[in-house]
Symmetry: none
DNA sequence: GGCGTCTTTGACAGAACCCTGACGCCCGGG
DNA sequence: CCCGGGCGTCAGGGTTCTGTCAAAGACGCC
């Protein structure tokens, strides 16, 4: 199910959006200000964010920048301002689309669909959505891991952790980067999380967990997934 | 350079777009109708398409469908129609954005930048910078060193040390500069650190560590990396 | 409210790493 | 010839980092 984060301080707009989105089987979170928005974005990992630029606590563009520091989630900006400069500023800060109020609900939903659609994993392309090693297979699209013919059960955090590593196959991923991507931008020093979850992944996926072949530790720097 | 395909049958609009795009260092192709557009898209593989819906030979939505059959290239629709239905139809057919005429050039260009930006490859986007010598290769992005087909393990300090030298390939790096960059700004005289770590790097990377070819000592001055 | 799953913490042993001091070599100058 | 400075090498010990385990908290579901 697609998860949407609606950020707006006007209750009637928020309510209208929530009703329409829920009717179309979206999962919806709402935030009345920028701080809550950033926090919820990190905690809930929405698939798309609808962001009103006129927030009580901070400039909407700052919210965009705060998000773009660590995620590429589609951002659909909503604003009462029609000025070209405002649009350009928001778009260049990292917004994906800009809709002026008052807006047509049908159009907004269509733009939302478009934003979600193009953020989906590279479909027909030659990108390998499935990563194979000698010991197991990771299907990034289906969110499935297979080992010796059996599907392996991963918890949400385990999967997220694995995904970051696999998407950077061969590259070193720093501890800070892992923490930020999996737990959110306010994390960066809780390396014990990494140790615990790395151990879980190795236990579930490595042929010999005590001598990992695919999940390599680079002491003091981070971890690396090798196929 | 980013390649744009402009599809429009009105010469004055096409011309205005071409001028503005070329001024911003885009490479531009133009097509006056749908058939030409589909053909050029296949032949030239543009990074983004600006598509007017009102074409003489076929319905604009058909062009979108024709493109989406084989490519995910961003499509920015341009149209005189303001109706919500039209927008929804185009967006759901696979368009990425919808701008109504008359449009502001600044806004259009900003939307174009947004469309191109999000189509960029994921994963931070940093290109793999690989430095090669006869004896080993250094991948600065993946933080990987390969020698004779095997990955060489470097400690954090060793890697940092190597990185500074490699980024200044061919240039002399003074002792003070090395110490400051690797150990921090309060260091500058602890040349024994350098001797120790230089020895480690040579032992791990040089074919003949006692007669280094790539890590050259400039007595009294500093070190130099030569490929 | 009870239960199972998942996440977060804390503690600890073992491993990896970094600093340090000692020593020998080379070379130019006294 | 002797001496001193700069450099390369080596190994020990303190420090940090990692793997592992267990248990407490948080959460959702029935």
């Amino acid at each position: 199910m697609t998860r949407v984060l609606v950020v707006d301080d006007e209750p009637q707009i928020t309510r209208a959006l929530v009703i329409n989105l829920k009717a179309r089987k979206y999962e919806v979170d709402t935030a009345p200000d920028g701080a809550t928005a950033l926090q919820l974005a990190a905690a809930r990992h929405p698939d798309v964010i609808v962001l009103d630029l006129g927030l009580p606590d901070m400039d909407g563009v700052e919210v965009i920048r705060g998000l773009r520091g660590w995620t590429r989630v589609p951002i659909l900006v909503l604003s009462a301002r029609h000025s070209s400069d405002e649009k350009v500023e928001a778009l260049d800060a990292g917004a994906d689309d800009y809709v002026t109020k008052p807006f047509g609900m049908d159009e907004l939903l269509a733009r939302l669909r478009a934003a979600v659609r193009r953020a989906e994993p590279t479909g027909g392309g030659e990108d390998d959505v499935i990563v194979t090693t000698e010991d197991f297979t990771v299907d990034l699209a289906a969110k499935k891991v297979n080992r010796a013919g059996r599907d392996v059960r991963l918890t949400p955090t385990e999967w997220h952790f694995l995904e970051v590593l696999v998407r950077n196959a061969g590259r070193l991923v720093s501890q800070k980067q892992l923490l930020r991507e999996v737990w959110g931008p306010s994390y960066g020093t809780e390396t014990n999380y990494l140790r615990v979850y790395m151990a879980q992944l190795r236990r579930k996926l490595e042929a010999d967990p005590s001598h990992p072949r695919h999940f390599v530790t680079e002491p003091g720097m981070g971890y690396r997934f090798e196929r």
